[in-house]
Symmetry: C2
């Protein structure tokens, strides 16, 4: 298990909601805690919370990668999306028992806040709620695109879409050098995200490598032919 640095670089300003709750003072992003706000370290692979479990807290991811997922009755899972630093778990804000589970992909740091306290602040400032609602609407749009991808795209297209989508989100937060991105995903995660088997994901990634489109190995994605990747993975 790798260690991660304390939340000094906690990039909360990424999400409008956080700035709105905390104001834009320097107090954001430090490791200081209070009775209603905490920073927690969670090791790689651990479940942050399980679906339908009541939690008095809302969650924001500060550092590392995570993912949200649903379990089907036969034990398979569907990853809904990947969580990057700055992401608010909207589901935890509006529901006491979110219907999804969350797991840490890398070691992560989460900021939790008492829902009651947040709701109280929300009641005093409309801007906060507005930001949360817009955040929810943006999420909705991404989910709807995913529905179209799963409903209508072939395996190659789905994986291309995922890679594109991840690099886009990633690029807005990090510096990328010559088309290389660090992606801490196993092929199993890709499979669970785009509705395929890990075996088939391996084959498709092999094809991408052969054709000089993209190379994902050892946790590093190298985009070799962006225009081709776009041609494959663009929805509209």
């Amino acid at each position: 298990m790798k260690k991660i640095s304390p939340c000094v670089a906690c990039p909360m300003s990424n999400v409008g909601f956080c700035g709105a709750v905390f104001g834009s003072t320097g107090s954001v992003g430090t490791t200081e805690t209070s009775d209603w706000q905490k920073h927690t370290l969670i090791p790689e692979g651990k479940e942050v919370f399980a679906a339908n479990e009541a939690s008095p807290d809302i969650y924001i991811l500060c550092a590392g990668w995570g993912f949200r997922f649903l379990q089907t009755s036969d034990g398979r899972r569907q990853i809904l999306d990947f969580l990057l630093p700055g992401d608010l778990l909207t589901g935890t804000l509006f529901r006491e028992r979110p219907h999804f589970s969350v797991r840490a992909l890398t070691a992560i740091q989460v900021s939790t806040m008492k829902r009651l306290e947040v709701h109280a602040r929300v009641a005093q400032d409309l801007k906060i709620l507005w930001a949360a609602a817009e955040n929810c609407a943006a999420e909705t749009q991404a989910l709807e695109n995913m529905i179209a991808v799963l409903g209508r795209f072939s395996a190659e297209q789905r994986i291309a879409y995922l890679l594109l989508h991840l690099t886009k989100r990633f690029a807005s937060r990090n510096v990328i050098r010559d088309g290389r991105y660090a992606l801490p995903l196993r092929q199993q995660h890709i499979a669970d995200a785009v509705g395929l088997t890990p075996v088939h994901v391996s084959r498709v990634l092999g094809v991408f490598r052969e054709r000089g489109i993209a190379d994902l190995s050892n946790g590093v994605l190298e985009v070799l032919d962006m225009s081709e990747l776009r041609r494959l993975g663009t929805l509209k």
Copy 2:
């Protein structure tokens, strides 16, 4: 094209948002209009609005059935969900250019309101915004379930899920007699909703008929074996 009655029965009270905007006075659901609020009749099959078109209005469905969908670049479409009376098009509330299109499945009646006017009211009453946000969160949950269905379910399971989901939503608004529901869907719509071809939908519905699970013909769904339908179509 069938005629539909005026919006006397406009069941807006179904959605918390509407009641909040209009108050709970008797003025809701009448056909009277103002400069910022209108009721419009739209014939069967017509597009209510197209993706990425700017619209100054927000939409609420008052009567009839509609559906939201996305188009892929190769012309196929993915239906995101079906719209029933009382449904607010959340996307039109938060975005000037929704990324989805909407089409009337039957002749429908929609209520449109100027977004600016609604936003002004929202700014004065937190409860409205809260209702809208909760509405959005509930929608999100349904979309996330759909992602798991498309990613992990077989054709039979998908169709069973859709039928179950529709009957549940339908049942909360209408009286059902002995498991018979009027569904104005063509098999093409089912196919576009669950990511299959119409041909395959026909086969699966045939199997359901044979096995005495459900019979969908001539726009009427008859659920013959609810427990079996549930066994097939339940996510968790």
